[in-house]
């Protein structure tokens, strides 16, 4: 474990790039605009890595299902819970003539009935009835179940893998990152707010905007800059950064001096009776206490902490903040477009003021996301101009460097084992 202690925080520059074992040379831009690189990412990364597809709270009961569309290959999948309580994943296609058996969305289906000819499957994927079966030719029903997709669950996160026989299991893929995040209580995980946007930017341009805080004082001047920077740390330098194979954690500075302007009547109304110093808290103080005491949450134990960014390779980001957790996912569509999804989790409100506070949180989050979205399209247009072949990356942007380092390794590696080495 690489520990960075600084007697006087932010008096000097940080050295996370070196402590994470990374180089310091400029980083190539071609992977952000090249159709050929995009194709290699699709086959070498997204079709070989374990991908986060949901959480177990989304399918608590027998027959509950969600559908997901795995990009960039547009592979439709069903994730459900069987009678035996097991979480399974299937390709969303009928064994008869290939139709999708479930439309996009979520619901409960103890029997999955194909809309085309009513072939019917049990929740475990076995075919249970074929209309007019005698007219088929010795159809082997045992071999006609829904096609299984590799799936595994870790700490409530459901992962799928598009390799028919994954080269490495989920535990091996997560490595020591799994140990670090073991036991984190995901408070209010059954109550997500989901925002989605299709963007005119390569998925890495979008991801890069969420793994560094260097941009916050400039782009988010009015929405959150006060939370992330102060006179003591004008450029929102990082508190910590550590890498775990392809995965990583970055801990960001927070300004403890933030206060509410009494002229802001709505903010005063919502927060006057509350005990939370952050924008929102996802649970009761006892629940939040267990979350905040976890070693992986605010890992440096700083009084000036805003959030931690936990990246699960390649495209999932689990953020921890004083009020709980939230999740970003970055899915490639083409070499210069992507789908962005973010899920925030909030508890059931008990009073009108708490409900207002949650609504203010959602409203502010949407503004922050919109600021980032305008920014990523601008960035992509600049990258596509071809005027530069490299970008200059500073120490607070160490997450971007590590992300690219790993991607370059994965697109070249002949096997996942070698990519993880």
């Amino acid at each position: 474990m690489n520990v960075n202690t600084m007697a006087k925080p932010f008096a000097g520059v940080t050295t996370f790039t070196q402590s994470c074992g990374l180089g310091t040379a400029p980083v190539p831009l071609e992977p952000y605009r090249s159709a050929a690189f995009f194709e290699r990412e699709r086959t070498q990364v997204f079709e070989r890595a374990w991908l986060v597809a949901g959480r177990v709270e989304e399918i608590p009961n027998y027959g509950d299902y969600i559908t997901v569309n795995l990009l960039p290959g547009n592979v439709p999948a069903i994730i459900n819970r069987g009678k035996d309580g097991t979480v399974r994943a299937f390709y969303n296609t009928c064994s008869h003539r290939g139709s999708q058996v479930l439309d996009a969305g979520a619901g409960n289906a103890k029997r999955i009935v194909c809309p085309y000819h009513a072939w019917t499957y049990a929740a475990d994927g076995d075919v249970v009835s074929i209309p007019d079966e005698p007219s088929f030719f010795n159809v082997d029903k045992k071999a006609c179940g829904l096609s299984r997709m590799s799936v595994d669950v870790w700490e409530g996160w459901i992962f799928v893998n598009l390799q028919k026989q994954p080269e490495v299991g989920l535990q091996e893929f997560l490595g020591t990152f799994a140990d670090r995040l073991a036991g984190v209580p995901y408070v209010a995980a059954d109550r997500p707010i989901v925002l989605q946007a299709d963007l005119d930017a390569n998925w890495k341009v979008v991801q890069d905007a969420f793994i560094e805080s260097y941009h916050i004082p400039a782009i988010h001047k009015k929405t959150i800059a006060e939370t992330f920077s102060s006179d003591e740390n004008k450029f929102a330098r990082l508190l910590d950064a550590r890498v775990f194979g392809p995965h990583r954690t970055v801990s960001m500075y927070g300004n403890p001096a933030m206060s509410i302007d009494p002229a802001h009547k709505v903010t005063m109304l919502a927060y006057a009776s509350g005990d939370t110093g952050s924008l929102i808290s996802a649970g009761t103080s006892a629940q939040m206490d267990a979350f905040l005491r976890h070693d992986a949450v605010n890992p440096t134990g700083s009084d000036c902490w805003s959030m931690d960014v936990n990246n699960i390779f390649p495209n999932t980001q689990i953020d921890f903040g004083p009020g709980g957790f939230w999740v970003h996912q970055f899915w490639p569509l083409t070499e210069n477009t992507s789908r962005y999804e973010v899920k925030f989790y909030v508890p059931e409100p008990l009073t009108a003021r708490q409900r207002l506070q949650q609504e203010m949180y959602v409203a502010r989050v949407i503004e922050v996301v919109l600021e980032d979205l305008a920014n990523v399209a601008r960035t992509q247009r600049g990258i596509d101009s071809g005027g530069n072949d490299f970008m200059q990356i500073q120490d607070s942007e160490v997450g971007i460097r590590h992300s690219m380092d790993q991607l370059l390794k994965w697109v070249d590696a002949p096997s996942v084992t070698e990519a993880l080495r």
């Binding site: 009108a352 409900r355 207002l356 949650q358 409203a363 503004e367 919109l370 979205l373």
Partner: protein, 114 residues
Amino acid sequence: MSGARLPEGFGDLERYCDTWGLHTTRERHAVRCGSTMEEIRDFYDAMTDRAAEACDLIDSYALDSLPPQVNNLMALVLGLAQAHVAVEIHGQPRAPGTPWPNSLKIVRGLPMLG
């Protein structure tokens, strides 16, 4: 008063029910993004004057089963979350440099009036 959309004593706020008091976050967000600063300020001033009183009234009911008139009042209180973005954060209807309309979708809002 039968047919009233808001609880007794809040009738003067009915003029906002079809805009700031719509029942989803997406709709209230759209109202703010499509309003002038004057229109936003008008609702902000009228509603903040009554908001504490409204919250106290709402809290005399169970939040997960509000009667229709009280639910409409709750929606107006939530309209303040949007108005506050313009008045207390940006000082203008939308974040500078952000497009409207845009591709951001609220796929799933909060369970109640979200």
